[in-house]
């Protein structure tokens, strides 16, 4: 059995990293969309 405080730290870090990963993935999608639009506008 894991000590309670350590378990809490793990959950907290996992939560923070999940949130950050969600934000970064969202930004990546936006960036890819913007790159595609930019490339299309250059090729026109």
């Amino acid at each position: 059995m894991m000590p309670r405080d350590e378990d809490e730290i793990i959950r907290k870090r996992q939560r923070e990293r999940s949130r950050l990963m969600a934000i970064l993935l969202g930004l990546f999608v936006v960036l890819m969309f913007a790159i595609t639009i930019a490339k299309m506008s250059i090729n026109q």
Binding site: E6, I9, I10, R13, Q14, E16, R17, L20, L31, A34, I35, I37, A38, K39, S41, I42
Partner: protein
């Protein structure tokens, strides 16, 4: 700060702040700035989104190189006061996490650069990451006192990448920008290594002051400052930039040379009495910022 032995596997998931620290954000500022200046000084337009992505990739590539450097050097970092509190030597992260993070970030940055800019920019970015990790960190750093002379090339790639992202090729001016940073790195790092000499000595890193002594290092600083100044003034002397860059390059280089003379004249061995070395180190950062800022202003004003 409590540290755990490196062989003891860290079981807690790494804090995202430590992953960020692994990318060496302090070093990244100069890398991003010189890369951005290379991009802005290049002739021809670039779509703002693609320009932003290229600079982002330079930052991510530098972060990847920093992470892989810390992954490989965790044992050295643990022995030096300056680096002992980094995530790996302090035991806040497993080495495997650092390796996966560094490789993932590096591959991602190169692929994104290829998508957003062009093959050449992606190839130079990949080369810069591999050069820093394999040539400097793995091969040279622990073997020779000339580690920083050759390894300095790794930090000189960003303006080349920025330029290539816009033009798709490499010409004389970006090569001179490469040469400026390449020749600037030894005096910059040797100034630092003089006042943290004991750190490098304890860790067994053959930095020049450890191997050749303080006086020899001070002479080397002055000696290497001369070709650096030639490279810094060359873009103006060759007519590739205007008088704004020329005036700033001459002024900053003259100041650098004076400070290098003060360093060469200093005989102190106690870090507390190494005022000239600390001044030169601080000024060297300002010098590079100033040169590249002047280059961009010059190119934009003249244009």
């Amino acid at each position: 700060m409590t540290s755990v032995p490196l062989h003891q596997e860290q079981t807690l998931p790494a804090d995202w702040r430590d992953l960020y620290a692994l990318t060496k954000p302090g070093v990244m500022k100069l890398v991003v700035f010189t890369g951005l200046c290379g991009l802005l000084a290049a002739p021809g337009p670039i779509h703002p989104v693609l320009g932003f992505t290229a600079v982002l990739c330079i930052a991510l590539g530098a972060g990847a190189a920093g992470a892989l450097n810390q992954w490989y050097e965790a044992d050295l970092d643990a022995k030096m006061k300056r680096t002992a509190s980094r995530p790996l030597p302090a035991g806040r992260m497993s080495r495997q996490t650092a390796l996966h993070f560094g490789v993932g970030l590096g591959v991602f940055s190169v692929i994104l650069m290829d998508l957003a800019a062009n093959h050449l920019a992606a190839v130079i970015l990949a080369t810069s990451i591999l050069f820093y990790v394999l040539v400097y960190t793995v091969w040279l750093k622990r073997r020779t006192a000339q580690n920083i002379v050759i390894g300095g090339a790794a930090g000189a790639f960003p303006p080349l990448i920025g330029w290539a992202a816009v033009t798709g090729d490499v010409s004389t001016l970006p090569l001179l920008l490469f040469a400026i940073i390449f020749l600037w790195t030894p005096p910059h790092f040797w100034a630092l290594s003089l006042f943290v000499r004991s750190d490098y000595a304890n860790a067994g890193v053959p930095m020049l002051p450890v191997v050749a002594g303080n006086d020899s290092t001070r002479r080397h600083i002055l000696l290497y400052t001369l070709p650096m100044i030639v490279a810094a003034v060359a873009p103006w002397a060759l007519g590739l930039t205007g008088w704004i860059y020329g005036a700033v390059a001459v002024g900053l280089s003259a100041t650098f040379l004076i400070l290098a003379f003060f360093v060469a004249a200093n005989r102190a061995s106690d870090p507390k009495q190494m005022g000239p070395e600390k001044k030169l180190f601080a000024f060297s950062i300002l010098y590079l910022f100033g040169l590249f800022a002047a280059l961009v202003i010059d190119r934009w004003v003249i244009a």
